[in-house]
Symmetry: C2
Subunit: 200 residues, 2 copies
């Protein structure tokens, strides 16, 4: 398959890329590095990317910004970053990508464990992740030509915890998180929220 991987230089994307490359042709896209770039908050940027790569079989997105912060400190802008970038950015990958993707193709988006298991400071991120999951469940019912859409819901990634100075054993290595993305791409499932712990 020809797969467009958005967020390829991120912590999870860096693990998804080599896994998918074992069996597929992967176009690696990042926000600010490399030859292929996209700004998820900008629909025109998404359309330029997806219209310029020829026919493809899958879009995998491991990118998307949303802001962590205390409920009494998050600003309107903080909420809007999550809504415009991680939520509508990924929604727009589907809305625009459906015009260019091959029959039977798939979209694999990223939500996160905070959707269902919040923590103090996650009100915006939990909202965005849960909203994305709601979109995925619904959009799957309407995609034509056998096109599929799923969300992967990662737990905390060990590499991220290490950077934060926290115990990496409390998370899952990115290489194991990546397995759920492969499942979404290679299986026939649609409208699902894949819990990464189910594929380790």
């Amino acid at each position: 398959m020809k797969i467009i991987l958005i967020g390829a230089t991120g912590t999870i994307g860096s693990a998804v890329a080599p896994l998918l490359k074992k069996s597929h042709d992967v176009a690696e896209v990042a926000h600010s590095h490399g030859a292929l770039r996209v700004d998820l908050a900008d629909k025109d940027s998404i359309r330029r990317l997806l219209s310029g790569l020829g026919r493809f079989d899958a879009v995998v997105c491991t990118a998307g910004q949303a802001r962590f912060g205390a409920l009494d400190e998050l600003s309107d802008d903080d909420y809007q970053v999550g809504l415009n970038n991680k939520l509508m950015g990924q929604v727009n990958l589907v809305r625009i990508g459906r015009e260019y993707i091959a029959d039977g193709g798939s979209f694999t988006l990223t939500s996160g464990v905070l959707s269902q298991k919040p923590t103090a400071g996650s009100s915006s991120i939990s909202m965005v992740n849960a909203g994305l999951e709601g979109f995925v469940r619904a959009a799957a019912l309407e995609l034509p030509r056998g096109i599929r859409v799923n969300a992967v819901s990662p737990v905390w990634v060990s590499e991220t915890l290490a950077i934060m100075g926290r115990d990496r054993a409390q998370g899952l290595p990115a290489a194991q998180v990546a397995l759920a993305y492969r499942e979404s791409v290679e299986s026939k499932c649609t409208g699902q929220v894949l819990d990464v712990l189910d594929f380790v």
Copy 2:
């Protein structure tokens, strides 16, 4: 208790109002009728309302716009209506209302069955409803002074189905949907998504 009911003239609000009035002092607020009005999409309007009513014990919101439509027909504006009004409008009731609400007060917001059980045409509404549920789960962890927040998730309401020319027996009468709102106000639960079918 002194309760602010937003959406008091709507189908569900019209049933919640008399139920709550049996035991409480209810200030009825609508978008475009009556003495008390609010535009959920406008933070200033929300602040004017909530800062002008004196101390209150509960906010119940049965209002919020989001647009139904086919995935390939919903416009950017259609998505933004749901994000700005039903989602961030209700989020902002909590963000602003927390400054004015009494100790131990509660917020009861409205999501909907399409969050978890989508149908063709619900991609925006499912996204908005699920996002609101994610916010409620998270925000409950951070509200001070014993303040609570829940969402009620209504199924289709019989009165709405009748207006649409559909079989009202496929829905639940608004008077029964209202029971879940009362439960949220009068119980001690927080961070919950209340399924209206559990309180009939």
